[in-house]
Symmetry: C2
Subunit: 921 residues, 2 copies
């Protein structure tokens, strides 16, 4: 099929675009798109994946016409650059890169400076006015070509280089004189000749190009690439494209340079020029942090002509890509070239502001704006900041690379950070500078501090992506890894000491400093208005106190989805009463203890009703096993053993008497604790099973709720209590508890002469409850899925005990996610679906929510939206995220429907969540 | 609709039959059926449920024609009995009973002796030649009628009776002279007159009858009946019938009598006359055990004419009902009357023999025979008997009322029995005689012993029904409840002492006597041949040793469905090695311990392969959490505390040194135990999660299995190992473990140069596994449902901890059954169904079994059959029961299909499993 000689194998960059990924590969399509957008991209062309497939299919021969088309395309580059391939005076140099539609390991590395040979190197030297540099580039090219294209072991080149370096005074790369470089070049060519059994390093640039193209094609069938495709189920007939692009040099003098820039400020979102550059430098120099780059606005003074080109490019970029872009550029003799553009990573605040302002600028729609902010970014926005009133001592100040403030113990390497984090400590990772090797330490850190690097250094980019507070370039600090401390002026901070990082101001503070919640601001408010307009799922909060309920309400909660009444019993006085109740030997004394608990619970409920005036309040009756309220068995046993030791040592009879009395008392308690002890408390006597055996507890709690509600109504508060029965597995449990609750509630309400509404529902948190939801729904006004417990029982996996093997599972990809964090849609999700369907089969208008941790997790929220739930309930600080996710779920669903209906969808580039390893490292 | 005056409201017994239950009620239909079968039933008639409904619908008036038809029917009775209703010389007396189609509480009690008045009482006295008895009957009738029909409070009658009794010397009922009885009768009539505001006790027998019939109808709408119907969803328009039947008297002299009889021996099944009677006595006298009844064969000498009638009735009964019958009869002046017949309860041995012999007699088919024996009866057959060689000392001998032998601790009242049983002890309940109030104690007892009563006493009937060994009428024993012991001759046995009851011989033995398994005999063999011909479900056994496997095979097991390898580690030497493995700090030392365990496991497996030569053997890899192999944390802690106390008391340095060393050692162990401790071990690091983290354990076990199998093959044994991975919740767990097992197994097999087949499958014991069975099946050759764990996780209910509330649930009918005993079809069953369907969706020929406790429970087996499982696996002693249940499931399914196809089904009366409270009490 590819034997037609007129078939088009080669596309100039200006001939392609982003949609041609399958044919041109990812890189080819991207650079074509940039070209199409009118951006100043160094010219070049792409040889298609079809050419690769033809090459591999027909005996490793270029398909007919391909080489001719390539050479013609080269002419186009020559014309555009005004250089000539192989011209000894003004040589055109090119890069050759592989580029499949899916990026994968094992593909050929990039070959730079192709086109250099014994003649052109001199031309380049003259043009650069630096023969040494040109020779060094040639030396590097030969070894790169020799290794990558011809397959010579790098070590052979390295050994020669080391020998020559040892002959110099300094011993470094830069100490090599032109004379020595000439000798190295000769030696390198000999190595190739010997290794390749008499084949010379090709002097003909066209031969170099031909060989490099073949090498790219060949790498598609390399061992690593094949393995990778097999493991990841990637078809082997995709093929790879080849990109040939003119080299541009930022080090051709002081009218040349290189830099990175963002079209808006990635930290605040403000629409201002943002970035850094170095004159007379190559790309790596900016990222590496060896020379300190200058802020981009200085360019207006140093190279005003280039500055104008850059500002013009910014405009084109945003108009074309409709999002903030992160670019790499090179200036060659006053001319701007963009090497790469991608959607820029940004802080949460920036994401919100950019999204809102782009709507105001008419670039994107409100719906698009809502998809532009992800949960992690919003979460970051809710991060605390250092309390301005706090009396904080500043150790040093660096660049504010990622906002938010966090305190933690200092770790000086990533492994140490992981260790401390696993021991349950918050960690601050402090490094000279970071690299991808530090990633595991960065991931567990509460904040990151580096001594070197700018706002676009590895640490800064990664931290912003993760929403982790970060300060970079704190140059005053001096790290002594061996002794385990860092110093800054008068301060010396040891491993494990507390410090606080303020990523919003760049300050590093002594100890654990008070932080406060930031004001969310107008951009946030605007965005959330759009969010609330879009979403259909309601968002409630899990809160057990009036205080928490108020916070939740401020974050936009539309009710309380889960109030855990047991937390109310953990105060000292309450705990004593609770123990009195549990240790009671008969109903009368149990009732007496309950009577004392009632007013306390009532007060708590009143405060909740007050905080949620006008909104529903779901209260779950007592859930945990009773022994949770008793002292720990082991500790009690140890205490008794201790008292017995004391008896032996005691020397007065009254003392002994007292000790013996104490022992008897504690032993009685121990006995009761032992009685109530369970081998698997999670599956034991808890939830409604308590209320079934001790109906008086259900009655007391119902009374407390209804009396509080009644008194709130009298005080002018609008109440809507929803009483929730936990851990139902059999419909008759609910029927029985409901009867008790209803009777009590109606009686209490009547005694106040009131008629406000209340409902009775249940948690669906056991597989059996979901499977028999049709029967259970007969007795329920609402369902609330307790996905924490449902996950535990569906997997047969205790949340408390799974730590020791769950991480092993996730590392080994046996599980994709921790199912306690992200709802397991394949298993647990089936039960939720069954529960919803069967519940609504019995009562079509059954109100259904979810109140596990998953209620605040975006993927899980989307799932709940898809199932038609009425609300999700999550912790107060997750409420804005839940609102956002609920809106995004609506939009994703609409896109899916539009797609199914065959309508074109405006697909905004997704905002990347985690930096790729390759990012800037 | 009922206003047609010719409508038939009344049916003579000879006009009805068993199919007319809706119209005639249960009692009416039964007695009609007996009459239709030509049995000598006291004549009578039934007023229909339609009449009741008409009465209730039309202003509490008898529907037109009903009363006339009743009076006409009465004439028929008069003719048959040669007595006349209201005749002062020869009065006909009748009983009036309610009888709805569903028996329910709150309906009117039976009124006996209706027809007595001031005149007829004298005629009865003369006929009985006992005026006192007639007056006593009249006195009882007035109070009965006054209370039941007229609604007078019984206490009023009781007070009068008490006053008169107090005037006698003895003070008992029997001390009342005719003169006193006359006074009582006058007083009773006055009470009624006063209570009913001037309405007299009716002297007219027709008025008595009219009022009694109305009272029956009225009771249908009594408060208790209405409540009961509402709770049990019984329609309120069923109505009740009224049965009016001639009274017959067994106490009219020595040609009269009463008795109970079985058409065959209910203990052995032998076809011989069996029963007891008393002459000149009423029905209650036999059951109450006050006079000792005579065996029925004596009747041949005492009343030969009646004996012939009885034998004739037996033949008619069995020909008509096609099953062994249990009858109550009365002889009135040499004439036999059958008062009741029902299917006779029988021992297991009797059930099997009767079923087989009835086939041989041509009464029933083989299929029917198979449905005639229930699981409990078969279980009883498998019960142990006292070892004839045991040196057993006999305390006393009573009647062998229910076969089998059991040892246990003596309890003298039912509550005590329950207490001991709950504490985990086997219990022998010893009582004077039992009543329905003793039921809870009888239910938990291993065996029952009574001092009084015959083979048909309450204790005997109930015990046979439950398959509990029982000895009754051990008259030598003398129970002292207050002092808590019983005495028999020289023996004195206290509460809590061990005794052994041999229900097959009637012996009561000192202490705990050895028992042996009985020979199952030819009737059993014949029945089981039919069973095996019918069933399609295979039956395997759960066995962990060669010994258990052999027993299972003898019982007919067709393979091992579950071999739990962890039980193999609990020997002393093995446990030490297991601990060494667990406490190992690195792979090398763990491997060393495993290497020592391998030959031990291999030997165990070899023995199993040997026992199951030719049959499949499913071996489950290590399942429990590792800490189960370590010492108990609390005990270890106590030991350490103890050692510390000893240090304080120690007086020599070497002693102290040794103690301190011990402490350090134990503390290290404690530390590891604590590390491995889990808050919910059932949901913790167990099952395949062990093999995932410690693959070397999986490898060791696989090696042991395959080496044993290979060596067995070499020894000429046919092996078929099925290696089973436990506790899979995610398909990739199984994929990963399967790979490990397969690689190891193939390598071992190859090293022996053999090619025998093995398979790898998994337990489905977590809800998630069932829900994702389609994916899991991709990696499984077979599934085995672990319904114990599946029940725990589906209900969120720990088997170990549920005791304290599950009994509460069952007592209160929140649950029907203990879900660990009877598979919960509504919940857990759904998951089994889903698992089967999805598993077979992926692999249509997937072999599927069940290996939880439910594999030996009849209802659960029927469910498994219905789902199309390949086999059930249960404990060796349950194998015959499982075979029987599997066959019964086939027959039940056929019946259901035939019913659906509209074919008539021969519906044998089901053999009742538990005695109703009303049985004979």
């Amino acid at each position: 099929m590819f034997l037609n000689r007129d078939h088009k194998w080669v596309y100039l960059f200006q001939e392609g675009n982003a949609t041609m990924k399958a044919l041109l590969g990812g890189k080819g399509a991207n650079v074509s798109e940039m070209t199409a957008a009118g951006l100043p991209v160094p010219p070049g062309f792409t040889i298609t994946t079809e050419a690769c497939n033809a090459y591999l299919a027909y005996d490793l021969q270029f398909p007919e016409g391909m080489w001719t088309q390539s050479k013609e395309s080269l002419k186009d580059i020559e014309k555009k650059t005004k250089k000539k391939f192989g011209d000894p005076k003004n040589p055109l140099l090119v890069s050759v890169r592989s580029g499949a539609s899916i990026s994968m390991p094992g593909m050929m590395d990039t070959v730079l400076n192709l086109g250099l040979n014994d003649e052109t190197v001199e031309g380049l030297g003259k043009k650069m006015k630096d023969r040494r540099f040109a020779l060094d580039a040639y030396r590097r090219f030969i070894s790169m070509f020799g290794h990558i294209v011809m397959g010579v072991d790098t070590e052979k080149f390295d050994r020669v280089l080391a020998r020559y370096k040892s002959q110099t005074v300094g011993g470094g790369d830069t100490d090599l004189t032109p004379e020595l470089l000439e000798k190295i070049i000769v030696a390198y060519k000999r190595i190739i000749f010997a290794d390749q059994h008499g084949q010379e390093f090709p002097q003909d640039p066209y031969e170099q190009l031909r060989m490099a193209i073949s090498a790219v094609f060949d790498s598609w069938n390399g061992r690593r690439a094949i393995d990778y495709r097999r493991v990841n189920h990637i078809p082997s007939d995709l093929g790879t494209a080849v990109n040939v692009q003119a080299m541009v040099f930022g080090n051709l003098g002081w009218d040349s340079g290189t830099g990175v820039a963002f079209t808006r400020n990635p930290s605040t979102g403000e629409k201002i020029v943002f970035g850094e550059y170095l004159l007379n430098a190559q790309g790596e120099d900016v990222v590496a942090g060896i020379r300190t780059p200058k802020p981009i606005r200085n360019l207006a003074d140093e190279l005003p002509e280039v500055y104008v080109q850059l500002i013009d490019s910014f405009r084109k970029l945003e108009t074309h890509y409709l999002d903030m872009q992160d670019i790499e550029f090179t200036v060659e003799e006053n001319r701007l070239w963009l090497l790469q553009t991608r959607t820029g990573k940004r802080s949460g605040a920036a994401a919100v502001r950019i999204a809102v302002e782009m709507v105001q600028e008419g670039l994107i729609t409100q719906n698009e704006a809502v998809t532009r902010v992800n949960a992690q970014q919003l979460d970051q926005l809710l991060h605390p900041m250092v309390d301005p009133k706090a009396d904080a001592e500043v150790i040093t100040t660096g660049l504010p690379a990622s906002p938010g403030a966090s305190s933690g113990l200092v770790a000086l390497d990533p492994d140490e950070a992981v260790e401390l984090a696993e021991a349950g400590h918050p960690v601050i990772l402090v490094r000279h500078e970071t690299s991808p090797d530090d990633f595991h330490g960065m991931a567990v850190a509460e904040a990151i501090l580096t001594a070197r690097g700018g706002m676009t250094s590895h640490a800064a980019v990664v931290a912003r992506g993760m929403g982790t507070p970060c300060v970079v370039g704190a140059e005053e600090i001096n790290i002594d890894l061996r002794e385990g401390f860092f110093r800054s002026g008068m301060h010396s901070v040891r491993r494990g000491d507390w410090v606080t990082i303020d990523g919003s101001t760049g300050r590093v503070l002594v100890g654990q400093v008070e932080t406060i919640q930031p004001k969310l601001g107008e951009y946030y408010d605007t965005l959330m208005t759009w969010v609330d307009d879009i979403r259909t799922l309601k968002v409630r909060a899990n809160a057990d106190t009036g205080h928490d309920a108020s916070i939740a309400r401020d974050f936009g909660a539309e009710g309380i989805g889960l109030c855990r009444t047991e937390h109310m019993f953990f105060g000292e006085e309450r705990l004593a009463l609770m123990r009195e109740m549990i240790l009671a030997n008969d109903l009368a004394s149990r009732q007496a203890a309950l009577d004392k608990l009632l007013p306390i619970q009532k007060k708590d409920f009143y405060e909740l009703f007050e905080a949620m005036d006008g909104l529903p309040l779901t209260i779950r009756l007592l859930d945990p096993p009773l022994h949770e309220f008793l002292p720990n068995f082991d500790e009690l046993q140890a205490e008794i053993a201790n008292l017995k030791l004391k008896v032996q040592k005691a020397d007065s009879f009254p003392q002994i008497d007292q000790l013996l009395k104490d022992i008897v008392e504690k032993e009685e308690l121990l006995h009761r604790v032992e009685q109530l002890r369970e081998s698997n408390p999670m599956l034991g006597h808890r939830g409604c099973r308590l209320g079934m055996v001790y109906p008086e507890v259900t009655v007391m709690q119902t009374k407390a709720i209804m009396e509080a509600a009644a008194e709130a109504v009298i005080a002018g508060i609008w109440v809507y209590p929803e009483i929730m029965i936990p851990l139902v597995s059999v419909d008759l449990e609910l029927a029985s508890q409901r009867k008790l609750v209803e009777e009590t509630a109606i009686q209490v309400r009547g005694s106040y002469g009131l008629k406000f509404k209340f409902t009775v529902g249940t948690m669906i948190e056991l597989p059996r409850a979901a499977l028999t939801a049709d029967k259970i729904a007969e007795h329920a006004d609402f369902f609330s899925f307790g996905t924490n417990d449902l996950t535990q029982t569906t997997f047969g996996l205790s949340r408390d005990d799974s730590g020791r093997f769950l991480s092993h599972y996730i590392t080994n990809k046996v599980m994709q996610n921790d199912p306690f964090q992200v709802l397991d849609q394949d298993g647990v999700g089936q039960l939720v679906k069954i529960g919803v369907e069967r519940g609504r089969q019995t009562k079509s208008d059954l109100k259904i929510g979810i109140c596990g941790e998953h209620g605040g997790e975006p993927k899980s929220i989307a799932f709940c939206h898809g199932l038609g739930l009425d609300y999700v309930s999550c912790s107060p600080y997750r409420v804005p995220i839940a609102r956002l996710s609920a809106a995004q779920a609506v939009l994703a669903e609409r896109d899916l429907k539009a797609k199914a209906a065959g309508k074109p969808i405006p697909a905004p580039e997704p905002v990347a969540k985690k930096p790729k390893k390759s990012a800037k490292a």
